[in-house]
Amino acid sequence: MTSNTVSESYAHRLATNRLGLWLFLLSDAFMFGGLFITRVYLWGDTRPELNQTLGLIVTSMLLISSFFMNRAETAMAHGDRKGFLRGTLVTIVLGIAFLAGVIGVEWQIAPFGVSEDAYGAVFFMMTGMHAFHVLTGVIFLLIVWNNARRGRYSVEKHWAVEAAAVYWHFVDVVWIFFYPALYLIGKVG
């Protein structure tokens, strides 16, 4: 590959990887968009009665986790490995707390079952698909955290860190839309 037609420098490779990751996220966004459309189609201008306090708490946890993720990535880009490990650990803990809040609490106290009506179907599908992405994000972060601990990344070369961070923020962005869709918009029906 030394005599490639296109220079195979790390910077070139990095930009290629970036485009690939963002296209994947774009593709994934269509799936979440489909879920959003489903919510609008089946619920219209109504929403189920959900625990507002819990909704605000889990949303805050996810947003704060994004803040720490950003901090961690910035730390890595500036040679602060300790800061990265700390920030990522907080992110992981908050991510798991989010999962516990949604699946462990919200799913149990929801005033409808999975198979009861369209409220149940859409609510469990949207939160479930999102939680699945949070879970994969946590696993991704654990892998990156472990590799960083063993010194696999440097200031110049830490694409895996960037990818994990961008993916994490993407999952956050999805929730930015899902939170009002599930908890805020519409009259309680």
């Binding site: 005599s3 037609t5 290629t16």
Partner: protein, 621 residues
Amino acid sequence: MSKKTNFLSLGLVRGVFAMLVGMPLGMGLVTLIRLAVGLPAWNAEPAWVVGGLVGAVAFMIGVGSLSDWFKLAAGGELPEHPAGAVNGWARYFNFTLDHKVIGVQYGVLSLLMFSIAGLFALIFRTELVQTGLQYLNADEFNTLISLHGIVMIMAILLGVAAMSNYLTPLMIGANDMAFPRLNSFAFWINVPSGIFLLSSLFLGGFDTGWTGYPPLSVRAPLGIQMFFLGVYLFGLSSILGALNIIVTVVRLRAPGMTFFRMPIFVWSAFATALISATATQLIALSFQMVMFQRLFGMGFFDPARGGNVLLFQHLFWFYSHPAVYVFVLTGLGTISELLPVFVRKPLFGYRWVAVSSLGIALIGFFVWAHHMFTSGMSEFLRVPFMYSTLLVAVPTGVKFFSWVATMWRGKMSFETPMLFVLGAISIFLVGGLSGPPNAVVATDLHLHDTYFIVGHFHATMFGGFVFPFMAAVYFWFPKVTGRMFNERLGKLHFWLMFPAFFVQSFGQMFIGLFGMRRRIADYDPALGFEQPNWLITIAGMVIALSVLIFFINLVYSTKRGPVAVANPWRSRSPEWLLPSPIPEHNYPQPLEIVGEPYDYGLVGSVFVRIPSTAVIEEPVK
């Protein structure tokens, strides 16, 4: 050069074994979970679904597709291009990074699925020759038409991927795809997918047609879950493959290869990939929702619980209509690519043709509801969707005018690939012209769900994919194998397939206009459709015979064909600068772009050259 390869060490074989282990494991897992939460231990549906998923993952592990990524996750480093582990024929059955091998893998699997789906068609077509049910019952008939549809779609997607994988990096002067491991993953995931689709035959089949509309699909036998799984996996393949194509085209073009100097095929592969990478998510989502309605009783499509079946149709067609542009755009790109070669004239309106592919892809996102004019959706949606659908004819027309103008006063020669190109153009014209009657609400209300639709889409599929694909196989056969195919058999293939296709397609449209319903196992003898149905079936058999000749030609010529000359068609495309078959890392030196791609017949013009080697220059007459 190929060392003796043990059969059991082939990736494919290892994958299948792993799958055979994985599926029972998954089934056991479900059973254990069910026991743990106090449900009755055995339930066939979740067991097969989870078993299938675990089996698919096991297959990918067995084939060796995931080992590099596991290594990476464990903190290892990966070489950009590891030294070729396997050589010779065995690499076609193994995990490999070479985009040309993957392209051939796609192509062969495509032809295999194509034959299976065609066989299903012959079985149920023969049943239709006479009224009454002779040797199939209604359920078997329905399963066969459904599988014919979906397996054909899979075959076409594989064929599209075959062409874009093999050709795109070569045409833009790259040495491989942007993500070779992802590329190989995207191919191999199709194998479990195909196994699942076909296994539905043995799990009760499914009687919904390939569209799988609820509420029918909610009540269908277990086979439909395997159908969903299969679609899910090849959809994943489609998304990842498309993503790879986009990144490759954007990032790996040779210096000087601007967007408007790319071979036109690359444009269509790019436009195709834009659709596949995004819209495919929605068919997956719609099928997943039906799957979950069956597994967990979620009420998405149950009106009694506030669900709505129309939601499924909206989500489903948001992919499944653009999907037809995925099928045809690559084919139309092939036509535009090959036509100038055999006419020895520049492609007329290169820029317009290039942009028209993007235009079709874009408009394709806004036409889905024309499949739903009779579904009971809000009536005000009908007219906007009618107009957006008719708008598709504009960029498609651009392509047609370009082809006609390219041929105008050209020096045509009629080798087999050219015959298939011309056949494709004429058939696609029929397919295209029979489209607007379906798009216009007033006529569609009559035509909906009749055999006219069947005739229409078979014409678009044959003109937009099958014929161009055959042209491409013949055209690049010497490049892939280094040998020439048998021209006489190739012409025989064409002259059997071409007229037979017209009989079939016009026959279908004819009986459709007179009221023959599609997807129906039996019809009233008083309608007088026995004779046309008989003709259609005979035509279908002739097509099958011609495809058989095609296969014989391919197999025989791969082994015994005469060694091909360096550039048998005098094409200007960069891949013909390289020896055939092409060595593992395509270009020894960076490609230099010095001219325009389609200046055929312009004396002394050059498109590309590799420094210190030959150029393809237009000769003086």
